[in-house]
């Protein structure tokens, strides 16, 4: 990725709009392959419900953690502005 940043910087004056299309297609391929792996693995298919619940719980934890800190920063910024 760092190599890519370097290459991108060197060629920044060229038209690089095709890169975002390449990225999209690569993401399609990779998620298609992930899908293949999931679908052909009976252990994952039969546990999909539990995996979903675990996924949502991790998301809720992650969201509560990040917005709590965002709320603290919000209070801090507003307090220093008021002084």
């Amino acid at each position: 990725m760092l190599l890519g940043i370097g290459v991108g910087y060197l060629f920044r004056k060229r038209n690089l709009s095709f890169i975002s299309k390449v990225i999209t297609v690569l993401i399609w391929i990779l998620l298609f392959v992930l899908g293949l792996e999931v679908g052909s693995n009976p252990q994952i298919v039969s546990n999909l419900g539990k995996l979903g619940v675990d996924a949502i719980l991790i998301t809720v934890g992650a969201l509560l953690g990040s917005i709590t800190l965002a709320a603290l920063l919000w209070k801090f910024v507003n307090k220093t502005k008021a002084q």
Binding site: G4, S20, L34, L36, V38, I58, G61, L64, L69
Partner: protein, 200 residues
């Protein structure tokens, strides 16, 4: 939103084909996903490096607010770790690896599948898609109870593209540059964090 739907339908199509055994599993034993992943990282790098204008506009942000991406990452990891402790059958580190996707579901699920297998990869996909969805749907509630920075933090790595319009609507247009900066930094940190928590 449309592009997210296309991405998810590729995943579902793959699942169905795999489930019904249409595509032979020998297809998976090759290194296709590894090379595609390498190519993907290279392209993501190019697109970041070729846009110096975005980097310049970041200088206008209130220096205190530059802390926001760091707080997002720390808050996410702490929250995910706590859930990991409470969940039976999931380790804290696995949970943190999923959390460190920060809503960037395509990249994080691909990485986690590569390092930890398809089961945790699927959790990463579902978890990070739901993060993006919740960030979109709950933005007005976040502003009301947690302040105008909360929707940006909730959006994680998506705040420079998919959740940007919603953030500008509910937090205000003046938060656009901060939102893009936040998305840029967290986006960049996803591959590093995910790899880190997969290798512990």
């Amino acid at each position: 939103m449309r592009s997210s739907l296309i991405i998810v339908s590729f995943f579902i199509l793959g699942s169905l084909l795999g489930y019904f055994g249409v595509v032979p599993t020998s297809f998976l034993e090759g290194d296709i996903s590894f090379y595609a992943l390498g190519a993907l990282m290279f392209c993501v790098g190019i697109s970041l490096g070729s846009d110096p204008e975005t980097l310049k506009s970041f200088k206008k942000i209130n220096p205190r607010l530059l802390l926001l991406p760091l707080l997002t990452v720390v808050g996410t990891l702490v929250g995910a770790a706590i859930v990991g402790m409470l969940l039976p059958g999931r380790s804290v580190v696995d949970s943190m690896a999923v959390g460190s996707g920060l809503g960037y579901y395509s990249l994080s699920s691909i990485f986690i599948t590569e390092f930890k297998g398809a089961e945790l990869g699927t959790i990463a996909l579902l978890s990070n898609i739901s993060r993006e969805l919740l960030a979109l749907l709950l933005a007005p509630l976040f502003v009301k109870y947690f302040g105008k920075l909360a929707p940006i933090s909730a959006g994680g790595a998506t705040t420079m593209d998919t959740t940007l319009p919603i953030i500008m609507k509910f937090s205000g247009k003046e938060y656009m540059v901060l939102s893009v900066f936040h998305g840029f930094v967290t986006d960049l940190s996803v591959p590093f964090l995910v790899t880190l928590f997969c290798s512990i």
